[in-house]
Amino acid sequence: MDTPSADSDSSAGRPRLAPRIRDRKAGPGRLLTLPTSVDDIVSLRGSFLAYPDLASGDDVLQNLSVSMLDRGTEFRDRFELAQVLEECGAKLDLSSDGLYVECSGRALTEDLPRVMDVLAEMLRHPSFDEREFEKARAQAAAEVRRRMEKTGAQAAAALSRRLFAPAHPNYSDAPEDVLRRIQRVTVDDVREYHERHFGATGWTLAVVGDLDHDRVETVVAEAFGDWDGHEPEPTHETDATAGEDPDKSNVDVRLGQSLSLRRDDPDYPALYVGNYILGGNFSARLMRTVRDEQGLTYHIGSRLAGVTARYDGYWQVNVTLSPEVLDEGIDVTRTVIREFVEEGATDEELADKKTTITGSYTVGLATTSRLAQSILTNAERGFDVEYLDRFPREIEALSLNEVNDAVRRHLRPEALHEALAGVEPDPVEA
């Protein structure tokens, strides 16, 4: 673009999002809408803060509550609810993620009113039918059993238990414990949890696509009108546990350490870039050395995980290794990490990854669902909508010193815990 306009980012010709997003209160919550050039469809993402008491095992109650939402309300049975969506090809998914209950959906624009209506009804008036509860519980147990077959998920969960206390949202229980707790829960427990923890506390909705701002606002206000907030306050642990001495074992490997840094920490962008240089994509150092040069693995990478504005997250390195190269693979991985932290990234790597991160940010905003998710996540972090446009500029402005300093401050190779799953001979994808 030759002439930068108010709607474009002069540094890269990126069209700006913030001026096109409308952010306001609608009904009991916050509504953010963004019209795009797509035809006939909208995507939506929403969440509210349920504040489960994680130390008391509320995560199981929250999961089961959520799984009951589409199984019938006070006004419609499960088939009638499903029929509304299935007749128009719309999708609506409800899920539980730590402190949040989340929803995501998509519909033809003309069907948004009835989808929103069903969503509000499911969140506010589930019927908690006893028979349905038994089925939900059996399916939840089956799902846990299926997860037990995934060694990658097991290793990640094992690592989380080394880094966090049970009251922390990043802690994952051992599947055997989850199964036991699922068996003990009654439908009354779940009904009571819903009464206490489901409400418009922090309720935020992002809708993106072929839409008219005002029409969506009317639909949302009508559907959620008088939904109230709930009483429970946050009880979760926000800090990571100071880990004991790292120990060591075997095959689908996760290395990790906790991070005492939140998403709104000034160091975050620099550390994000630093980690990206180390293990963010196929051309990052770990992939180039451990996979491409040494051929020891199919996949290796690293990421900042579970980092939010509300509690500590962690740094995780994933590597899948065949049993015969397990020790060698871990050693090489640790060496690459140690050298990276000690010696730092190079100017060239930084320039590369800046192009990568800002380019993939642009690419990542090319669908309505990704846009809706980005807008919601940004709002959950407590950031203003302008941050969606500011983020790439923030990345572009980082110096090499800032990145290497952040890496040295936050990443501690000597403190890496190891967790593994899938005892030989079954290596499974990370």
Binding site: I41, R145, G295, Y361, V363, D426
Partner: protein, 438 residues
């Protein structure tokens, strides 16, 4: 939704191309000198574009002893050319990911595709790389060795997944003559023994501009893109030989076939697979509808009969649309403490009911509306468009993508009953059970 098909190019186009046809906004061109086909869909929206090269070669083209060659070649295509190579710091992944591109490739029975989604300003880079590796892949023997280990590892992981193995076993039993019988990743012994020369021969047989389609979708300028495509791909000659075609037809199945996979795991599964017509045939549209009526959503027959009654924890209906006859399938994960026979009988009875009594207009409308919404969502962003288009190209008729809505509109309640009777027959099915051993 469909626009009339113009008979002339929408605007002036570079002389290297001839305009072939257009359908629902997608324009089809041919690079005159070498026969490369180009599909172009300019869209408004984010400043991004997807570039994709679909080679009209898949595991269907592999002969005995060389199974897995297509997939292995797909991996080797990332190992570089003279210009784009890791030793120069310009590996294909590094170069493309550096600009924020999403890069990958996939191999399936009827096609192999390589794609990049990236900021539009970097589209010429993607086209340059794709054109370069169309004829300039090095296929270095050392790279073949290191990639062999990677692929064997990938195969191990697939084998460790009991459901993936169940599908492989059912396809292997269902096809005795047609090459759809072997898994795309190949048999282990073939992966172990294939040589760099063998891959070179495969590459030199199939990787030519006149056996490929370049698709560009996104916020692009038509003329610029065509000039870039002509500049990069125009330097290749057409294949010096005729591209070999698969002529084997699967003989008619005369009786049910059954396979069992016993492997460590938690929950059993049942897969019932029936011979289906080629993707381009109208009956294939009807089978898409039938798959929805059977197993999509809580209103579906199998959900109500099996999952809702506690027999299965999940059910799926799948119509694999392929260039040659494929498999229409229903699949269920058993609920704990339910046996395979019970689930198989329940699924079989629901199918029989449709054969005997047909389906309702409401069921047909619901399935059709679901598919309509799916089509609208499959246009959300250039990557989704390209990926749908890819399957239509593979099936042998790219306009399947643009004409699909109209084709669906023609499906009737009677058609659904008829295809259920014609294709979903006990004596033409292959049944697979996954039996967990721990």
């Amino acid at each position: 939704m469909n626009q009339p098909t113009p008979t002339e190019a929408p605007v002036e186009i570079p002389s290297a191309f001839e305009f072939r046809t257009a359908s629902d906004g997608i324009e089809c061109y041919r690079l005159v000198d070498n026969g490369l086909r180009v599909l172009l869909l300019p869209q408004d929206g984010a400043p991004v574009a997807t570039s994709m090269v679909t080679y009209h070669v898949g595991s269907r083209n592999e002969r005995t002893g060389h199974t897995g060659a297509t997939h292995m070649l797909e991996h080797l295509m990332f190992k570089g050319t003279e210009r784009y190579h890791q030793r120069k710091g310009t590996s294909i992944f590094q170069t493309l990911q550096r600009v924020g591109a999403r890069v990958n490739a996939s191999t399936w029975m009827d096609r192999t595709n390589y794609y990049e989604m990236l900021p539009t300003e970097h589209l010429p880079l993607a086209l340059d790389i794709e054109a370069d590796r169309m004829r300039g892949a090095l296929l270095d023997p050392q790279d073949v060795e290191s990639e062999r280990t990677v692929i064997l590892n990938e195969r191990d992981r697939k084998q460790n997944d009991p459901v993936s193995r169940l599908f492989d076993e059912v396809w292997a039993a269902a096809f005795v003559a047609h090459p759809y019988q072997h898994p795309t990743i190949g048999w282990e012994s073939d992966i172990e023994s294939i040589t760099a020369d063998g891959l070179r021969e495969f590459y030199d047989t199939y990787y030519w501009p006149d056996n490929a389609t370049v698709s560009v979708v996104g916020n692009v300028d038509r003329r610029n893109v065509l000039e870039e495509v002509a500049g990069h791909f125009g330097r290749h000659d057409a294949a010096p030989h005729e591209i070999p075609q698969v002529r084997t037809e699967e003989p008619e199945q005369a009786g049910e076939r059954r396979v069992t996979v016993e492997q460590d795991g938690q929950l059993g599964a049942v897969l019932m697979a029936y011979k289906s017509p080629p993707a381009v045939e109208p009956d294939s549209d009807t089978l898409d509808v039938l798959a929805r009526i059977l197993a999509s959503g809580k209103g579906s027959r199998l959900y109500q009969r099996c999952t809702d009654q506690g027999l299965t924890s999940d059910v799926f209906g799948m119509n694999f649309r392929l260039r040659d006859p494929g498999l229409f399938s229903v699949f269920g994960y058993l609920a704990p403490d339910v046996d395979h026979r019970t689930v198989e009988d329940a699924m079989g009875e629901e199918i029989e009911k449709i054969q005997d009594e047909g389906v309702t207009k409401e069921e047909l409308d619901r399935a059709r509306n679901q598919l309509r919404a799916k089509i609208a969502f499959d246009r959300d962003g250039p990557m989704k468009v390209a990926s749908q288009l890819n399957e239509a190209i593979a099936a042998g008729q790219w306009t399947l993508y643009t004409e699909y809505l109209d084709r669906l509109d023609r499906v009737t309640v009677d058609d659904v009953q008829r295809v259920a009777r014609t294709y979903v027959k006990t004596d033409k099915r292959t049944v697979g059970w996954y039996v967990p051993t721990s």
